[in-house]
Symmetry: C2
Subunit: 378 residues, 2 copies
Amino acid sequence: MNQRLPVQGAQGDLLRLVATGRAESRADLARLSGLAASSVSLRVEELIDAGLLAEEGAGTSRGGRRPRRLRLSSGAGVLAVADLGAHHVRLGLLDLSGVPIVIEERRCEIAEGPRRTLDRIADAFDALLAEHVPADVPLRGVGTGIPGPVDPATLRVVTPSRMPGWNEFPVAEHLATRYDLPVLVENDANLMAAGEARWWPGSENLMVVKAGTGIGCGVIVNGHLHRGRGAAGDISHVRVRSDSSILCACGHPDCLEAYASGAALMSALAEAGIEVTRPADIVTLVNDAVPEATSLVRNAGRRMGEVLTVLVNFFNPDVVAVGGSLSAAEPLLTSIRAAVWERCLPLATRDLEIAPARAGRDAALQGAGTLLLEAALT
Amino acid sequence: MNQRLPVQGAQGDLLRLVATGRAESRADLARLSGLAASSVSLRVEELIDAGLLAEEGAGTSRGGRRPRRLRLSSGAGVLAVADLGAHHVRLGLLDLSGVPIVIEERRCEIAEGPRRTLDRIADAFDALLAEHVPADVPLRGVGTGIPGPVDPATLRVVTPSRMPGWNEFPVAEHLATRYDLPVLVENDANLMAAGEARWWPGSENLMVVKAGTGIGCGVIVNGHLHRGRGAAGDISHVRVRSDSSILCACGHPDCLEAYASGAALMSALAEAGIEVTRPADIVTLVNDAVPEATSLVRNAGRRMGEVLTVLVNFFNPDVVAVGGSLSAAEPLLTSIRAAVWERCLPLATRDLEIAPARAGRDAALQGAGTLLLEAALT
DNA sequence: CTCACTTCCTTCGATTTCGAAGATAAGCGG
DNA sequence: CCGCTTATCTTCGAAATCGAAGGAAGTGAG
């Protein structure tokens, strides 16, 4: 039903390796795919004839003949991706290697419900396609990130906390009525993790924490997004050790989110008489050395670190990447690190890197691109 | 260097599918391996000629012709596996499908150091081989479980807590001097998890908790043992919420192990004037309805449940299997369940099964068999 | 019992993949 | 400039794999 890329057999694997940037030459492909060099040459030939791959000059020598560089042909197709937030949507077009063609941000109230929101996104896609993509370059896939849990089996939104009207809405089906293409619907933190993974080559196991208004987390195991039964990666409703007791929106007391999320920090600041409207404002306050803000952020980092301690011991990742708008506040990362180093097993922290996210603002869109390419090739 | 099984190419995959019990017929193999039915027939023919596979009667029809059942030939080889504890070792021989040929338990003090201990094990292997295996049936691999952390890169023991003389000892190298074969050295909880995984067909993501003298945990992700950087699965040194403060052997206060391990329960019972020597004795007390014991076990279960809550939200497994000698105490599982159901996200517990381990006492040996077969086929 | 249907397994020619050998194209040291 | 080394890529016969077709052996409905 879905119009997939016209590739068969081993071609898909080769195309994927080039698209994800892991391979740049026929020799790379032979090494990474496990195929014989001769077979690789044959398939690459076919892919070039089909207009999907292109040769582009020579790469740098590694001591012998220089490789002939391969890249995805710009006519191979584009992907339309979006990342939905509470009050805005970030969306754009990528080529098949995940490189942005155009990305923009629009206001968009998720509370307007799924139909209007999704139609707005689709309209925006159509406008961008008309403006930025030649008519003969095909759209190969459509994907969106959702700020709530998505059931991977049905691609529906399930029990979202701040998305009235979205519960059990069949997002993928709705988009599929407009696009006869592979459709991706995924939690936003998961997309961010998938996007971040490309920036940590060599690291197979990652935790990616999104510290923004809420606290999200995505998990990469063996280079692939781990979904579990659909809810994997949640860390925001872990109970933290505390003297006081705050009731979280989820109905349980003392969730991490109630202490360390951007939303929690903003209300704590309000109580101290400092009004802010976005988590990014907290970063500004910290940079301006407002003591209340710094202390709050440090506290949040320590609490997040205590939770991460458990998960680092258990999951033992290579990297914990911290992103989201709050992550720009230096003391956050410092406090997370301190808590994890102090409490974790030496074996677990031996080669662990706790670092700022590398993918930047478009991490989720890039992740959507990666996963969509996978879907279009399978 | 290591004498591997005389298989090449696709033969290994097919043999593995039969050995692990996932395939019983050529048709199964075709479905699971992705090979064409004709290719499967050819390879199976070769494996039968090589004496590795055997045909054995007919299976049950699924609505058409009955399949011709395949099993590993009994002459294909045996595996020698051991599971080392603090004061004893459980060891035996398995056929290549992991079915026990002979298993026995011997006293053995791990504190005697690695050389004497490992030589004892090897002597026991040799004796069992001489007695139970015809001389023309080859030994295909040797493996042992270690009650401490094992670095998967070097197969050495690293910073074990109750194994004097073992730190940094190259266990695999030492065994390899006696056996020119694939050698497996792995943490005991990991082996147990690998063994348990076979008993949960259809479940790809498992947590296996071993509640004995200590608290161990192994993780199966996508059907494979997750090692992380070598320390994955540790849950015993997570900080628990507590009014009091107990210093754990690891140097940190309030580790789960200090509250909920068999060792911790035994010393708590001793304080109440009830002397026991093994965690299994606690189970007896609980079954005899000794109130102190029941209350302690219930408390331990609750604490373990609180820790598992975090991990279930994060990892979102299909199954949490609870084994180890303490797991025979009913209230343990009940309290774990109660804590997890109460606090976890509905999406995470929707289809979650928290159940007693199924593999029984030989779980670790079976796991060693599974992993060794893998090693012998790669 | 017969007939339609399903599943299992094999046969055989077409296709794909492999791998050894060689051609091509660099870097490097004298 | 010239050999020596390294790496990339192609050629071509051998081997593995595929897939369509068909035979074998069962189930179930009428």
